[in-house]
């Protein structure tokens, strides 16, 4: 073979080789760009876009008349754009040095504030910035206008420093209402919440403030609005090279409450006065709560809890000292809302439930008389007539009026006997079932977080307790209490005896238990709100409404109004005759019974109040003062419940407070009804909502200014 032949064949091979290499390139290019192109495109986008969040203005909370309970205020905020100052030759050192004295913080602190949490060399939380490094970092709030002007005038000296007006939360406290437990507060989002909600529709940003308690928490999603997001393209040095997309933030919705600031003010003042009354009588008066509810729909009109706190302390981040003070034992947990979280024995206010149960059980009532001695023996227990005295033979109606315990013991005991006493066969448990029907033992479902459910201390509860503790009881029944015996042999012997009894009979529903339940003592516990719902149900003929604080949610432009519809949680069958019986009895409490003292000279003819007092036995502590009521009795509108823990009797401590609340609601002066003096227009919650205008301003309902003056005159406010 010659050179020509050789080179020819080898050229062919080379061409084939080159051709295949190029085909391979084309194939690979096709796969990358056409087959997998989308995937690459998405990956690339993730790497080179960064989003900056523009926080939305949080929604405003209004009372039913349109008074602002939580608002927003414009504040001068100085922020620093990290990406801008880091692009400077000295990475912003000069700017920081110049800015620090201007905004009045040390250079070190400012440098720390301008570090992004988690990055190398960053300061520790809470000093470091918990947001994106592409988001301007706020370094100072509420600066004097001249600081802002100086920064703006000499912007070239402060590159990357932004002085702008931003919104911050305020509590205007109209008519000096506190309402702290209902309104709640906001705080910075936690890492856990961020992780939990990542990827959901309700995704949070690390710079977000979220509701921590009260309405701020329950309606957080509605109040928070949607933050705006600006997406920037960045290069590999993390410098911004262009804007990719931008969505404007939408403000949070307005909440219109059923709560009326004027009624709330009266309720708060009267609760505080009741506490003072308790203390003046020598009782501890440690805490209290009051609830005013619209019985026709479950709207809460006022809700107060004592002790309370100043909601404003949360606005700039609570200090360690403040938080210690709030959670200190001596302060008696002011953060806890007694109205929805406090659990107390309902005591005699529970007698309406027992009456309804007895009616259902067909226990003879009406004209049937029962003896009301100062005490009766049930089982081997002597049960006394705590707050009442001996009245001889009286009707059940009269027993309600004068709150005779011994009559109710008898009713409870009789029902227990019908269930088979100590050897029950298919027990009916009328009282327990009636209590559950009235919503006790479970949450009312109010639109506030962390509500307590309480419990009905009936047969079921006792059985479950027994199941839980019998092993311990039976162990102690055998082994005794050797450690106690060392110091106090008598007590140890007593405890062992008790353990033995509990081990064998601890789960048994005894006659004494039934008697105790009938007067709302024993293991039963309720919240003041549950009692308000219960008395509302008696007032409205058995309708158990889910209590509601929020009446309507209005879009930030005022265009969409979503009114809260009354929601029925349950219905208790109250026959007309039972209703009549209960109404007569509860009216009698005011005219001839335990409520007569606080309602002395009450114009019952003009505004008929139905009520029940209660004085809850509380072991060694002072009794719980209860006053549960509704009015007008013939066509009920409001239920008013007040409770003072360790407050003494219902009549002397809470009763006068409830009276004052009715006086304010209806404008009662002396024995006269002066509708113009009522603290709520037409003495009933408005049907019309305050108007949210498109510019965000609010038009209060009619006569709000006049009523504000009434309250101001009443309490000497400015």
């Amino acid at each position: 073979m010659s050179f020509v032949d050789h080179s020819y064949s080898r050229l062919v091979i080379l061409r084939v080789l080159v051709f295949s290499l190029f085909v391979a390139l084309l194939g690979r290019l096709f796969v990358m760009q056409i087959v997998n192109g989308e995937e690459f495109k998405n990956q690339a986008a993730d790497a080179r876009f960064r989003s900056v969040v523009i926080p939305a203005t949080r929604g405003v909370v209004l009372d039913q008349a349109g008074r602002t309970l939580i608002g927003n205020r414009r504040a001068m905020v100085v922020s620093v754009s990290l990406t801008d100052i880091e692009a400077l030759g000295d990475r912003g050192k000069t700017v920081i040095k110049k800015l620090a004295p201007l905004i009045g913080i040390p250079v070190d602190e400012l440098t720390a504030k301008l570090s992004v949490c988690g990055e190398k060399g960053a300061a520790k939380p809470p000093l470091c910035w918990n947001g994106s490094r592409f988001q301007p970092i706020p370094v100072a709030k509420d600066l004097a206008l001249d600081v802002a002007v100086r920064i703006k005038e000499r912007q070239h000296e402060f590159p990357g420093v932004i002085a702008s007006m931003q919104t911050v939360r305020v509590f205007p406290e109209p008519l000096d209402v506190n309402l702290a437990h209902v309104l709640g507060y906001i705080g910075p989002v936690s890492d856990k919440e961020l992780a939990e909600r990542a990827g959901t529709d309700d995704e949070l940003q690390s710079t977000d403030l979220v509701g921590r308690s009260g309405l701020e928490r329950f309606y957080d999603a509605q109040l928070r609005g949607n933050p705006g997001v600006t997406t920037y393209a960045i290069d590999r040095t993390m410098a911004i090279i262009g804007k990719v997309s931008e969505t404007a933030p939408t403000s949070g919705s307005y909440l219109v409450l059923g709560i009326d600031a004027a009624v709330q003010k009266v309720t708060e003042v009267e609760l505080k006065k009741a506490i003072n009354r308790a203390r003046n009588q020598g009782f501890a008066g440690t805490s209290g709560a009051a609830v005013v509810m619209d019985v026709t729909n479950g709207q809460v009109v006022a809700m107060a809890s004592y002790p309370t706190y100043d909601p404003r302390i949360w606005l700039d981040g609570v200090t360690a000292a403040e938080y210690k003070r709030l959670t200190d034992d001596a302060a008696n947990s002011p953060l806890v809302s007694r109205a929805i979280q406090g659990l107390f024995a309902p005591a005699s206010t529970f007698k309406v439930v027992t009456t309804a149960a007895a009616y259902r059980a067909k226990i003879p009532m009406g004209s049937t008389l029962y003896p009301c001695p100062s005490s009766i023996d049930i089982g081997n227990r002597k049960m006394t007539n705590h707050e009442s005295r001996a009245y001889g033979n009286i009707s059940v109606r009269r027993a309600i009026e004068v709150s005779c315990n011994t009559v109710f013991y008898k009713l409870g005991y009789d029902m227990w006997l019908r269930d088979g006493g100590n050897d029950p066969t298919k027990p009916q448990d009328f009282i327990e079932k009636m209590a559950l029907k009235f919503g006790l033992g479970k949450k009312t479902g109010i639109d506030l977080p962390s509500e307590a459910s309480g419990r009905v201390g009936g047969r079921a509860f006792k059985t479950s307790q027994y199941e839980q503790y019998k092993d311990v009881w039976c162990f102690r029944a055998k082994e005794g209490y050797p450690s106690v015996a060392k110091t106090d042999p008598a007590r140890a012997a007593y405890l062992k005896l008790l353990a033995q009894e509990n081990c064998t009979d601890g789960g048994k529903w005894r006659g004494g238990d039934a008697a105790n339940l009938s007067i709302g003592q024993g293991d039963t516990s309720v919240t003041p709100l549950q009692m308000a719902v219960l008395y509302s149900a008696i007032a409205n003929g058995g309708k158990l409404y889910q209590p509601r604080v929020v009446k309507a949610i209005v879009s930030p432009d005022g265009k969409t109004v979503k009114a809260t519809k009354p929601k029925l949680k349950g219905k208790v069958y109250i026959s007309p005759s039972l209703r009549e019986y209960l109404l007569t009895s509860l009216r009698g409490v005011i005219t001839d019974g335990t409520g007569k003292t606080p309602f002395a000279n009450w114009p019952q003819g003009r505004l008929e109040v139905a009520a029940k007092t209660g004085s809850g036995e509380n072991g060694d502590k002072d009794p719980t003062s209860w006053f549960a009521s509704f009015a007008p009795a013939d066509n009920p509108r409001y239920a008013v419940v007040m409770m003072v823990e360790q407050g003494g009797t219902g009549a002397l401590t809470s009763g006068p407070g409830v009276r004052k609340i009715y006086e304010a609601l209806y404008g009662i002066k002396g024995e006269k009804l002066k509708p113009k003096q009522a603290v709520i227009r037409n003495s009933r919650p408005a049907i019309k909502l305050p108007k949210v205008k498109s510019d965000g301003s609010v038009e209060a309902i009619d006569e709000t200014k006049r009523i504000d003056q009434v309250i101001k005159n009443l309490y000497g406010l400015n």
Partner: protein, 380 residues
């Protein structure tokens, strides 16, 4: 000057050139110019310097390159052959000098001389041309009557390649060594040497490569690049980072690309030194599959025409040299595009006609000139 330039049918040399080759090469240079512009403009703008600085320098280089190409195409054959040893010696000396402190380091490779005006000179680019011509001269001048080079010629021609290769390995520039290796094999095979030479050399390259890895003769930088080639995710922020960003850029181009100047990946400078070795990623992102495939096809046309010229010429030197140029352009293009597409390891070789860089442009257009020279002579 008439003694330098070919005088035969002087008036018609222009018409007798391979017009398809010229058109394809010019098209590649045109696209390359646009892409260099698009790939450098955003960065230069953000640096606040003349955004067209690279474009201007590239256009200047390209004009000189075209003139050099015409010069080579028009230079008389005998003169070219007479001066080929000069080019080779010049290359060898500059390759020697470039690894001294006179040279400039980029990414751990010392392969450049810094020239005034922001220009650089990369002697290894000219070495490729010198080796092709040098080997072709040696192998073509065989005393054997069948025209097949004997052992003496083969060894001598290998020596022509070996010295520059040895110096380039000291830089160390593995990519150029690979290209020269492919060119050497192509030149030898077309020269008709016995198959045992080809098999032996091929085997030798494999063994040498294995030994380099095995005995740590590769620099850490080269080794990392090879490891990262095998798995780009092992080091996403350093060596592997480039590969990933290049793939993201090309992959997100889709069918039609984002359009010139509109590639976010390119504009965001996610791919470092994008105007040189990774220029194809800018092509992929901004011109998409259509642009990327067009470049591959144009390069294939250039290589194909070179092979055609090699096949058609009766001159032994021309046949061998044209084959060498074809193999050079084809393999270097494959190596460069292949690394951009992630099917070849990252080695610093420019994409012929497209990449920014004076030496590469000069050498490639001189090579085109050589091809045209061979074509024109054959048509005499």
């Amino acid at each position: 000057m008439s003694n330098i330039f070919s005088t035969s049918r002087n008036e018609s040399w222009w018409r007798r050139q391979d017009w398809v080759l010229t058109a394809a090469a010019l098209a590649l240079s045109f696209v390359g110019t646009l892409v260099i512009w698009a790939a450098t403009r955003p960065r230069l703008m953000s640096q606040g310097v003349d955004p067209e600085a690279y474009l201007k320098r590239h256009v200047a280089v390209l004009i000189i390159g075209l003139l050099l190409g015409i010069f080579v195409a028009r230079t008389r054959y005998s003169i070219l052959r007479a001066y080929a040893p000069v080019l080779w010696v010049f290359s060898a000396i500059s390759l020697l000098l470039v690894i001294t402190p006179l040279g400039k380091d980029v990414n751990g490779v010392r392969a450049w001389f810094q020239l005034p005006g922001g220009f650089t000179l990369q002697p290894s680019e000219f070495a490729k041309l010198a080796i092709v011509i040098g080997m072709a001269i040696v192998l073509a001048e065989t005393p054997h009557r069948d025209g097949i080079p004997g052992n003496r010629e083969v060894i001598f021609s290998l020596g022509v390649a070996a010295l520059p290769v040895a110096l380039i390995m000291l830089q160390p520039d593995l990519g150029t060594v690979l290209v020269i290796g492919a060119v050497t094999l192509a030149v030898l095979s077309v020269s008709g040497v016995a198959s045992r030479w080809l098999l032996g050399l091929g085997g030798g390259v494999v063994v040498a490569g294995w030994a380099m890895v095995q005995f740590g003769l590769l620099g850490e930088y080269q080794l990392n690049r090879l490891l990262v080639f095998l798995n780009p995710n092992i080091d996403p922020l350093d060596a592997g980072y480039n590969i990933l960003q290049v793939r993201l850029a090309i992959g997100s181009g889709g069918l039609t690309g984002t359009g010139l100047f509109n590639g976010p990946q390119t504009n965001g400078r996610w791919v470092p030194e994008q105007q040189t070795d990774f220029i194809y990623s800018a092509v992929g992102e901004e011109l998409g599959f259509i642009g990327g495939a067009t470049i591959i096809i144009l390069l294939l046309i250039v290589a194909w025409r070179a092979f055609k010229i090699a096949g058609e010429t009766s001159d032994r030197f021309g046949k061998i040299a044209a084959s060498g140029v074809a193999a050079w352009i084809a393999f270097q293009a494959f190596e460069n595009i292949g690394m951009n597409l992630g099917i070849m390891p990252i080695t610093g070789v420019p994409l012929p006609f497209i990449s920014y860089g004076g030496s590469s442009i000069f050498a490639i257009w001189m090579a085109v000139g050589l091809l045209q020279n061979i074509k024109i002579k054959q048509s005499d």
